[in-house]
């Protein structure tokens, strides 16, 4: 087989038994790989009403056909499972090096079922698979864990693991790979922790064979050249990484500020990419086989926030900076490093603390309950809350449940800025209407990465859309959702894929991506077909989410009812009601958002 190994490893954690399984080539072709394969298996193998922290929840690690190929950024994997935060689907994506090393084991996918009787890790060295005790690792952070595991397996291996947050089932726990990369959102780390699985270690030499190696290599080289040309011209992603974004969103009035009470932050200059570069940047870093190199190797050399690591990314600056009202960049960087070490999603952690800050300032949560003051801008209190959240210590136990449950518990649900109980990313939808429709309808709850129309609404990539208008957003959002499902199933990184393997039309068209899929797999893929497969994946995910009981597409009260008080979008609210009915119609869903029989048949999905 080409591109795919067409082999999965089924891991029965309860029995500590593994079996190798072949993947049906028809399924492989129709669902592409990665995120697509994962939902096909999840839908067929588990009851969507399952308790996400029970052994019956199935957790899948999935690479794509382009993972471990010459494609630039052909190095991504997905963690797909039912989310304990949202009660809907979790599909978290990560890069680094682990995904390529995982593909080289000779398995495209790992399916984890059941629960280990005690903490263990899985070591997959091609066909040699071992369950090993993690008693000496339980309680250790992700960096220490990774170092110990590499020493006791091989320096040629790579590690994905949970930290104390995942062990303690904190709902913003993520899975950290290669120390600085994360499949972070939706509590996937808690699912892994609920299975007593501390880590997965992978190594091997089985690069997938390519159907047409010469053409695939040539196309990959040409794509990398295009990336390189932009970098040479002066690319913000190379110079600043995603940390250049705060200035952009702040200028447009959509930078989350003080738990979304405002859209502009007066101290953006203190926490933006230029400040980061001038004060703490060592150099850029890259995931395996990426010519863009948007990663940041940073260090705070001394003082209270001394540390070294990678990041912060834009979303981290949004959540720990603007949303918490914090202007101390060193402290923000420290909170970022702590999330990587303790194994937490920076968006979930930062936005939950922001909600707690608002509730403290308004007197909704007494100071004795928190244990100390917790005002916006108090960066030391923020850092202490990060630590407490990971260990579920004191008030951290409340914080660990996320902002929705926190706000509900203390009697003020209107403070939570969430959809499906998941915290918002760094784009205020009152000033970017398409993003509001995206958050409301995404299968994983509020997420920018499920179909990031901010590319057009905010960044003008490939063309600039008016962020204040609702016109044309239903078709744009549904198209982007299908396209991102395609990218996540193929195994590429969005940052390179969106700009370099899609045509530069408003309705981005995956011509070059389909050529890569064809040269890799030889399956006769066309651009229309791979896009259709993206739509198929998206709809099957939707069926899972609906059957899990998560049937309401909406936005939180602050977005629908409280106009932005400042900035270019002053006076605006999210106008979901102007977009949702047309979105359902365009998607071929009924007025309640359920895919119709005709749509399911068209996509070859079970009714």
């Amino acid at each position: 087989m080409y591109g795919w190994h067409l082999k999965l490893l089924r891991v029965n954690l309860t029995a500590q038994k593994v079996t190798q399984e072949d993947v049906d080539p028809k399924v492989a072709r129709a669902y592409l790989g990665g995120r697509g394969w994962a939902i096909h298996y999840l839908y067929n193998e588990m009851d969507p009403m399952t308790d996400p922290l029970a052994p019956e929840n199935v957790m899948i690690f999935a690479t794509g056909p382009l993972t471990a190929t010459p494609a630039p950024t052909g190095n991504r994997y997905m963690v797909v499972t039912k989310s304990p935060l949202t009660g809907a689907l979790a599909h978290s994506n990560s890069g680094g090096e682990f995904p390529t090393w995982m593909k080289r084991t000779g398995f495209d996918m790992f399916i984890f079922e059941g629960k280990l009787s005690e903490p263990m890790y899985l070591f997959v060295n091609e066909d040699q698979v071992e369950f090993r005790s993690a008693a000496h690792l339980w309680g250790k952070d992700t960096h220490e864990t990774t170092d110990i595991l590499l020493a006791e397996t091989s320096p040629e291996a790579r590690v994905a693991c949970i930290g104390p947050a995942g062990e303690r089932l904190a709902l913003m726990a993520g899975i950290i790979n290669d120390k600085h990369r994360a499949a972070a959102r939706s509590g996937v780390g808690a699912v892994m922790g609920s299975k007593n699985l501390k880590a997965v270690v992978v190594m091997g030499k089985k690069n997938p064979p390519l159907f047409n190696a010469a053409e695939m290599t040539a196309l990959s080289v040409d794509t990398s050249k295009n990336v390189g040309a932009d970098v040479k011209k002066g690319s913000n992603m190379r110079i600043y990484g995603t940390s250049y974004v705060p200035q952009v969103t702040n200028t447009l009035g959509i930078f989350p500020t003080r738990n979304f009470q405002q859209g502009t932050f007066e101290s953006t200059d203190k926490i933006d990419g230029i400040a980061l570069k001038e004060q703490y940047l060592i150099r850029h870093t890259a995931c395996y086989r990426c010519p863009l190199a948007c990663g940041r190797l940073t260090e705070v050399p001394d003082g209270d926030y001394k540390g070294k690591g990678e990041g912060p990314e834009y979303e981290t600056i949004s959540a720990f900076g603007g949303a918490c009202g914090v202007s101390n960049l060193a402290a923000l960087i420290k909170a970022n490093y702590m999330c990587n070490e303790l194994g937490m999603d920076t968006i979930g952690a930062g936005m939950t603390i922001a909600a707690a800050m608002e509730m403290y300032e308004k007197g909704y949560i007494p100071e004795e309950v928190i244990g100390q003051p917790l005002k916006f801008g108090d960066h030391d209190a923020m850092i202490e809350m990060v630590r407490k959240m990971a260990y579920r210590e004191g008030f951290g136990d409340d914080l660990a449940m996320g902002s929705y449950r926190l706000a509900e518990k203390y009697g003020h649900p209107e403070v939570a800025v969430t959809t499906r109980k998941q915290e918002f990313p760094g784009y205020d939808p009152r000033g970017a209407q398409g993003m509001g429709l995206l958050y409301a309808t995404s299968n994983k709850g509020a997420s920018h990465m499920e179909g990031d129309v901010a590319y057009e609404e905010v960044f003008g990539v490939p063309i600039k859309e008016d962020p204040f208008s609702t016109e044309g957003k239903p078709e744009l959002v549904s198209h982007f959702q299908n396209s991102f499902a395609l990218i996540d199933s193929a195994g590429l990184c969005v940052f390179v894929a969106l700009r370099y393997v899609f045509n530069k039309d408003r309705m981005i068209f995956p011509l070059r991506l389909s050529e890569m899929m064809q040269y890799t797999t030889g399956e006769g893929y066309t651009a229309e077909e791979v896009l259709k497969a993206g739509e198929r994946v998206y709809n099957l995910e939707r069926m899972f989410v609906l059957k899990a009981g998560s049937t309401v597409d909406t936005l939180p009260p602050r977005m629908l009812n409280e106009p932005l008080p400042d900035g270019p979008a002053k006076g605006m609210v999210a106008q979901l009601d102007k977009m949702l009915p047309e979105y359902y119609r365009l998607r071929g869903w009924d007025e309640k958002g359920f895919p119709t029989k005709e749509k399911l048949e068209e996509l070859g999905l079970p009714a």
Partner: protein
């Protein structure tokens, strides 16, 4: 009339040395367009450039008013 020009991220290096906080005040003739205002700087404008006036996207031939803030950045991918 006085306007303000902000150059974000890698465009910032095209600002004059007296610029503060990534921006500079500019005294321009009444009716100056966005395009004309930006021609005062050596920015490599291309199809990756995003220009906004008071946070809103407008045509580059739009005439500016006193107090307008023109912001420009290059969007090579997002985050």
């Amino acid at each position: 009339m006085m306007i303000h020009v902000k150059l974000l991220a890698n465009y910032r290096e095209h600002l004059p040395p007296q610029a503060k906080n990534g921006g500079v005040d500019l005294d321009v003739p009444d009716g100056t367009t966005v395009r004309e205002a930006l021609s005062n700087f050596d920015i490599p404008l291309d199809d990756s450039s995003v220009i906004v006036v008071n946070g809103l996207t407008v045509s580059l031939d739009t005439p500016l008013k006193a107090g307008d803030v023109v912001s420009a950045f290059s969007a090579i991918a997002g985050g």
